[in-house]
Symmetry: C2
Subunit: 556 residues, 2 copies
């Protein structure tokens, strides 16, 4: 009754060998291919319809390979399915414009968000889904395994071993998924050397190495000039420190990329010290090496930082702070996005960051109809890690306060991750931070997505901080109370104007809404003079000259 299928079981392997065979002609010695042969190499090893992972990280970019991919003959190679973390460069979308690629599964597209939205509208890009990083890496091992990976490293040796060092980022995840499913791995490197500082990716996992004509592109994405921090941001930072960090004893945390969290970092050695919080909060971070954290590190606040990626200019500082960062035997850091995101999901007490829009229920998104930005790591870190089983004080306290717990799981106690949204009621160009309905609905329609792309869902958010106050959302007994708490901190937005002052008073009495006054914060002190460093120069001084900011930040 059962029929055994006559099937080839090594078709991928045979296909791999055929592709490698047809690329042999471009190899000089070992695994080295001359950069002038890059396009020919790609045409030899890539086939139409392939899933291709073009390494686009949050910081470093395989830009030379990206440009080469744009030059392949679309008559020969088309309908590629790009599976990559970040759409950052023009070339990342040019491959779609040229008809070489068709489908896209990704995580983040900040710098190309507007153009991507246009491409989607014009039908040039078919979006599979917008993922959080670790989710995309997970799918690499299930149903989105790359056939070809185009990756990037600082250095290779002649055998093909790679040094990815400070900016290791996504490389290990991409390479492992590709190479161990009989795929092809091509690396662009800044230089081929005799001996690497250390080996990050073994040569066995790499098929071809190309010395690119110039070093790979890298973006200092997490550098915030303290000179640009506003008094309003200082106020929100003070409120967050006193009303959340101190209140819950938050020890393990990830900060978002914005100025609000930079302000928090710069207030630790001043306002934090004044509140007696040193050692009580912020001992462990999962975070890129933010320059704004230098004063807190130098003041002895921080025990450990594990990083997703590097940050341009922080190489030497990080190397000299090996007690804090994860540095290799050679002295340079090894970032690793996969492990940092696993830690960010499971080992943190709190995720805190900004967003573009929050709806009346508390759902938030950075996607708008004209900008497909993606979410990066936010959904992974900014959600309650339901699989978490270890307890910390802050996790237990948030869980005890979570009033929906009994409806969900009965009489069992359970903790909850703190997920904090820092929000201006009005952002740039007076765009309201609170809206009736997220623009994500429109985007879903335009891009033919199954559901609106939400960055953080309401049931995961515990706190919203605006200049009006803090809403402790998880304490709300039902959706109506939650919506009232959101209105209470939504300021002069349309949503905020629907606030009922009696209702807000009740929420304040319940401790669900707290104004600066309720928190005992003297608003007159909320100004830039509280920052431990007020500009880039002071950050460099704090670092004892070890931090070397990129030229565009050197304004002194």
């Amino acid at each position: 009754m059962i029929t055994q299928v006559e099937q080839e079981w090594d078709s991928l392997k045979k296909d791999y060998q055929e592709r490698i065979q047809s690329a042999k002609q471009y190899i000089q010695t070992g695994k080295i291919v001359d950069s002038k042969d890059t396009v020919s190499l790609l045409e030899a090893v890539i086939k139409s319809g392939d899933k291709v992972s073009l390494e686009g990280n949050n910081q470093k970019q395989a830009d030379f390979l990206a440009e080469a991919l744009c030059k392949v003959d679309p008559g020969k190679i088309h309908d590629l399915h790009m599976v990559q973390s970040v759409i950052a460069l023009d070339s990342h979308l040019d491959v779609f414009e040229k008809g070489i690629a068709k489908k896209l599964d990704f995580s983040f597209s900040g710098p190309q968000a507007g153009r991507l939205a246009k491409f989607v509208n014009d039908g040039k890009v078919q979006i599979g889904a917008i993922h959080t990083y670790l989710e995309l890496f997970g799918r690499f091992f299930v149903d989105l395994t790359p056939r070809v990976a185009l990756i990037v490293a600082y250095q290779a040796d002649k055998d093909g071993n790679l040094y990815t060092g400070f900016n290791t980022e996504d490389t290990p995840a991409i390479v492992e998924a590709t190479k161990f499913k009989q795929g092809i791995v091509i690396a662009q490197v800044n230089e081929v050397v005799d001996k690497l500082p250390r080996i990050d990716i073994p040569a066995d996992w790499v098929d071809f190495v190309i010395e690119a004509p110039k070093p790979f592109y890298i973006e200092p994405l997490f550098t915030r000039d303290p000179a640009l921090i506003t008094d309003a941001q200082v106020l929100r930072a003070m409120m967050a420190i006193k009303g959340i960090y101190a209140e819950y004893g938050v020890q393990r945390v990830n900060h978002g990329v914005g100025f609000d969290t930079a302000a928090i970092e710069l207030l630790l050695p001043t306002y934090g010290e004044e509140l007696g919080l040193k050692g009580e909060i912020c001992s462990y971070f999962v975070l890129n090496p933010h320059p704004a954290l230098i004063p807190a590190i130098e003041s002895g606040w921080v025990k450990s930082i594990h990083s997703f990626g590097g940050e341009l200019g922080m190489e030497k500082y990080v190397s000299e702070r090996s007690d804090v960062f994860f540095n290799g035997p050679d002295g340079s850091m090894r970032s690793n996005r996969a492990f940092a995101q696993a830690a960010g999901h499971y080992a943190l007490d709190m995720f805190i960051g900004g967003t573009l829009q929050i709806d009346k229920y508390g759902n938030s998104s950075t996607a708008t109809a004209s900008r497909v930005t993606g979410f990066g790591g936010a959904p992974n870190m900014g959600c309650d890690a339901k699989g978490r089983r270890h307890a910390t004080d802050s996790w237990l306290k948030a869980g005890e306060e979570y009033s929906t717990n009994e409806q969900l799981i009965g009489d069992l106690p359970r903790g909850k991750k703190l997920v904090v949204q820092l929000q201006e009621t009005f952002r740039e160009k007076l765009a309201p931070g609170f809206v009736e309905k997220l623009d994500a609905w429109k985007l879903a329609e335009n891009a033919d997505l199954a559901i609106p792309p939400v960055m953080i869902y309401s049931d995961d958010v515990t706190h919203i901080v605006t200049e009006e106050g803090i809403a402790y959302l998880h304490k709300c007994s039902d959706m109506n109370e939650r919506m009232a708490a959101i209105r209470a901190v939504a300021g002069y937005t349309t949503l905020g104007l629907e606030e009922d002052s009696n209702e807000t008073l009740t929420l304040r009495q319940k401790g669900i809404v707290k104004t600066p006054e309720d928190l005992g914060i003297d608003v007159s002190r909320a100004n830039r003079s509280l920052l431990a460093a007020k500009n880039m120069k002071e950050l460099v001084e704090w670092s004892k000259g070890l931090y070397e900011p990129p030229a565009k930040y050197r304004n002194w």
Copy 2:
């Protein structure tokens, strides 16, 4: 106002160098240490109070190093904090008995569960927390970074490169966390060779290599003899296939370790084929290489399997099925628990497995007062991945049916992972599968845990399958209805006897409870004759002789 702290920033590095220095005398050539010097080496590099990760995986064990650790002088080395996935061997607890170790953070302790409970009661072990694997790995990069890692590989070369191959499992996660925070990595290997099949761990990441006197211990943990599958298990498997797999079109799945899921695997080429489900369900697995899956693979059901670890006897079969498994250029598989768990959390439509106890609310646990078993990967895979943002049909359907959605997030649509518990109403020795209150409460008290250790929480469970029927819990409108649905499938347990037959009828009409009859399943067909393979010999035949079961399973 700010005081900069005078601080050493490389104390870990100096400490590392001191330890290495005092161990230099034991090195023969390169990184090789003679096995007879192992205890001396450990006494040289480990200090009291260290966090030590002794590699204990689900399958392979660093057993030689574990035994050596038991022989160090407790006068010199004591109060170690063990941070390791699995407590499997006597030696894993002997280090506590001997006063060498004091605290334990871990994930799973199946084989030592009874003894561990006793140690906890006697105050010999202080449990930090019971984690799910990926959570523990995450903490390795935050607040549980090992100072010393004692790991295990098949082979090393003279430089210290390691081949972990088929059973790579946890090794990359442990080594990366340890070595990049200036920790010390010691590897036991089965042999030192001139040339490795491939490099899994670069030599730069390893400090010492010891050729152990005998090959490392490994357990065939996922091998289920089809001869032991009962008719009741066949019935539950039929119900799961028709009532869940087919109903939701489940394509991406992880199966637990039990006989119920082995039965499901063995029904795919028979009952599944008959229902026309080939290609419609079970194309992608995250799973160890279960022998029971061989008939489905050979019948062309499976596109891809990524594995946490290996399975003894499956080496050759997996090597010859490179289209399906993740094999390296050398032909052997590379398992990787960290990536498989990331995939298991984020890329699967369904987690299905068994448990020991389910309470009246639907919370389940394998922990009892006298057995501290831990959970392994279950909490990570058996929870709703709140950070997930990509849609599949089954995820969307479960989300649409989830009646609590609006209370939690308003009018936004969201999917939900299918989390299925297969449960006998009475297990071995007539222990009830459904209870008023979980034994986990008592355990929490005995072990001084902050909260009862729950494996899967009620709000994550979508389905419970017993011989009585399937409860579609996520469809229930509130906790009362959920409790009624649980009673309806709880059989003759005390909980089940509280069933109200009118209430159950209403639930059946709503499609919240379905009996075999409701599902259109002919119970008389539910017997072993439906299994694609009925014993180990037939599995070997299906594999064309490639599967080589361990001796204890060779009964023909």
